[in-house]
Symmetry: C2
């Protein structure tokens, strides 16, 4: 839906929403957009409506605010309201919001935590205990569970009550647990709707145990692997268990959309030598420091490439045209190598290239590099000739381009494969390493041949 840009329109929408809460005319993502726009137009009105929002909707809105705006909102809200807001969120969102609050005001976060029930505190502590890349950090502890001795009818009745009280959302399957609260089956609503109501789940499961065998992940599993599982098996949710098979919670597809996107962002950033976590933070000094690390590495490799030129100062002094042309060899080699590198890194990441077919990719890349190397060798040699009218330099330029293309194709493919083999991320640092090689070798081949054949 389109959100009005006008202050009056926004206020009208919020008033209508507050009047007709039961009808839930606005999705939380729309409400969030309204508040973000409202804040830009009128801070006072923004704070007024933040205070008037019911707890059940406020949490999602607060989660969507940027750090600065959230800080303003927190100042306007009472601890009591914040406690009731956190209580209405699902556990994973509650944990995220409390974390955001803690980043702004540790004391306030502690006060809110104290206001929660013991069980809620425990859940949040559990979720906070996981590392950022572990499945447990993404799960919500709210799941609809039925014991295997329960009948379908009893379960549906329980489900009805939870739904009416608004305590359940996005349920696509029921997790069935056995005598020791261990997960024994996952049954989708599609199947439940067709069951005989008077049967217990145990009786139904025994008829076709394979069909209901639960697919699950461990709380300590890598979240990237979980995302792969969602894609491979077209899941909309998956239960999370601990190492005793005890059901802890579930991960739903809305987290997975975010994770797939985050993985991609991380990869894009890794290429350029920037860190995703640091960049999304607000502290400029951290950004500088983090990017500086890679700039430092780049400085070292640039000095190394320069040292190659340094060996040919005499050659350049006699023929400054060489200094003019040499960056073309380096630049084009770098560009070609980066194309191969990018394709390789991405195909390794999405699993299109693996142990079994990397040789095919290598052959393809070298073929492409050599084919285009020939074409651009001719073009660049011609261009150089038109410019400097020096036949020898042009031939050397052409050969240097061809050789540097081949090296670029080879290194652009091999560097990520090598880094993968070493169990490090093929994206991190590979571009700087590649550029060092194509620069240094580009200068060396071009100036080296010039030294031999022109003098």
């Amino acid at each position: 839906m389109r959100i009005g840009r006008d202050l009056n329109q926004l206020v009208d929408m919020l008033e209508a929403f507050l009047r007709n809460q039961r009808e839930k005319r606005l999705h939380y993502s729309e409400l969030s957009k309204i508040f973000i726009r409202l804040r830009k137009l009128d801070k006072e009105k923004f704070l007024e409506y933040i205070k008037r929002m019911p707890s059940k909707d406020l949490g999602d809105i607060l989660l969507s605010l940027s750090e600065n705006v959230l800080e303003e909102a927190l100042e306007a809200l009472s601890v009591k309201k914040l406690v009731s807001t956190i209580k209405r969120l699902e556990s994973d969102d509650a944990t995220d919001l409390l974390q955001d609050i803690e980043d702004i005001d540790e004391e306030l976060a502690a006060e809110i935590l104290e206001g929660l029930d013991y069980k809620e505190q425990e859940e949040i502590q559990l979720l906070k205990s996981y590392e950022e890349d572990q499945a447990g950090a993404y799960m919500q502890t709210e799941v609809f569970v039925a014991s295997d001795s329960e009948t379908v009818k009893e379960t549906i009745e329980r489900f009805r009550i939870l739904k009416v009280n608004g305590e359940l959302e996005n349920v696509s399957s029921v997790f069935i647990t056995g005598d020791y609260k261990n997960l024994v089956a996952t049954i989708s609503l599609e199947d439940i709707i067709l069951f005989d109501l008077n049967n217990s789940f145990k009786e139904l499961i025994i008829k076709s145990p394979e069909k209901y065998k639960p697919r699950y992940v461990r709380d300590v599993d890598d979240i990237e692997d979980v995302a792969k599982l969602f894609r491979e098996y077209d899941l909309s949710a998956i239960p999370v268990v601990d190492d005793h098979g005890y059901l802890l919670g579930r991960i739903t597809m809305d987290d997975i959309y975010d994770i797939v996107q985050e993985i991609a962002t991380e990869q894009i950033y890794n290429f350029a030598g920037v860190d995703e976590d640091v960049e999304t933070g607000k502290i400029v000094l951290n950004v500088s420091r983090n990017r500086g690390k890679w700039q430092f590495l780049n400085m070292c490799t640039a000095f190394f490439a320069a040292s190659v030129i340094g060996r040919f100062q005499g050659t350049i002094e006699g023929l400054p045209a060489l200094a003019v042309l040499m960056p073309i060899v380096a630049s084009m080699g770098g560009n070609t190598g980066n194309q191969a590198l990018t394709v390789m890194v991405r195909q390794l990441a999405v699993g299109d290239v693996d142990n079994s077919n990397w040789l095919q990719s290598l052959v393809k890349e070298i073929l492409v590099a050599v084919m285009n190397g020939f074409i651009f060798a001719v073009l660049v040699a011609s261009g150089s000739y038109m410019w400097f009218k020096n036949f020898k330099i042009s031939i050397i330029m052409g050969i240097a381009i061809l050789v540097n293309f081949a090296i670029a194709g080879l290194c652009g493919t091999m560097i990520p494969l090598f880094l993968k083999k070493m169990n490090t991320d093929p994206a991190v640092g590979s571009s700087i390493l590649l550029t060092m090689i194509t620069d240094a070798l580009g200068f060396f081949i071009f100036l080296g041949m010039a030294k031999i054949f022109i003098y």
Copy 2:
């Protein structure tokens, strides 16, 4: 699950699968992995089991094969078997497989198409008629629809029969249509399970029309926008309608996982000047040609940067140390600019930066660039002094680094913003444009100052 590596293990698994088809012990993604591995170990066995697979499982396996292997499989299968295989696939998968077959053997694809019912042919023609980026190209025409005059009981009974016959999968909601087959509501199974069985849907919808108001997309909508909708509203499926509101099909979350990933790949590739469609194809010549386009552009910008050096040939001739050091200025500026560019392009893509807050990002980027510019100006100047013991050159080097960092930060931020404003993809070509600026200006500032202050 882990798939055995050993030929005998693979054969055992397939034999067990063929014996116990009803229990469906293997998910299609596992079956596909088995067949891909089997092909690598033993072509004859691979073809034998491809022929023995039942039609209902064969389609998903064929869809997972690479073009070469699919070609071998097609030769081993009869047209009749292929027709029955296509019939068992959902319409979107059927269209994809037929397209893959057409790419290998047009005549065979035509024969298979003729073997299908008129209605199936029509569906496939419809899906094929959409552009690659349109929602219609990703939908499946199989949806579970109920008329609003039907009772819940009748609908569940119909659902049961379809499920038993294996004609329905992954149903999370029922689409309700009105008198003219127009979509009037979407009701999730969560709600249906709680309804009074004897009510008609019309009676239920009238009680809270807002709640069941269907969220839908048009068949011609951009698939990237559809993916955004899935993320924003945590959807697991969405109905697709034509411009008269007539229900055509649905898009499910498994397509969206793929699309989010593809969008990310496209963006990564766009940065490097490679084309996703071409790269996933097998034709090396197309890859060469496509990459060559960007290499050509890079050649032009490299010549331009070289022409800047060309204006200072006299300066370099007198002091070849300048030729040694100048690539350092260019390289470090390019690296810095690319960091800013990458962050900007990605944040524009995921919506973190927009019209309202781009100025903030610009300020941040320039701040980061200038801060690090100072630090690296000192480092590089010191390094240069230790190397050449020339105070003037070192000072000039430091100033050039600082200025080029600032320019890199500015251009790295502004180029994507400008391209976005021009409604083109901020990733495409921006890196080459940026490098041209940091190279050419880097050379110009460094050599220009050298010319003025040293001579």
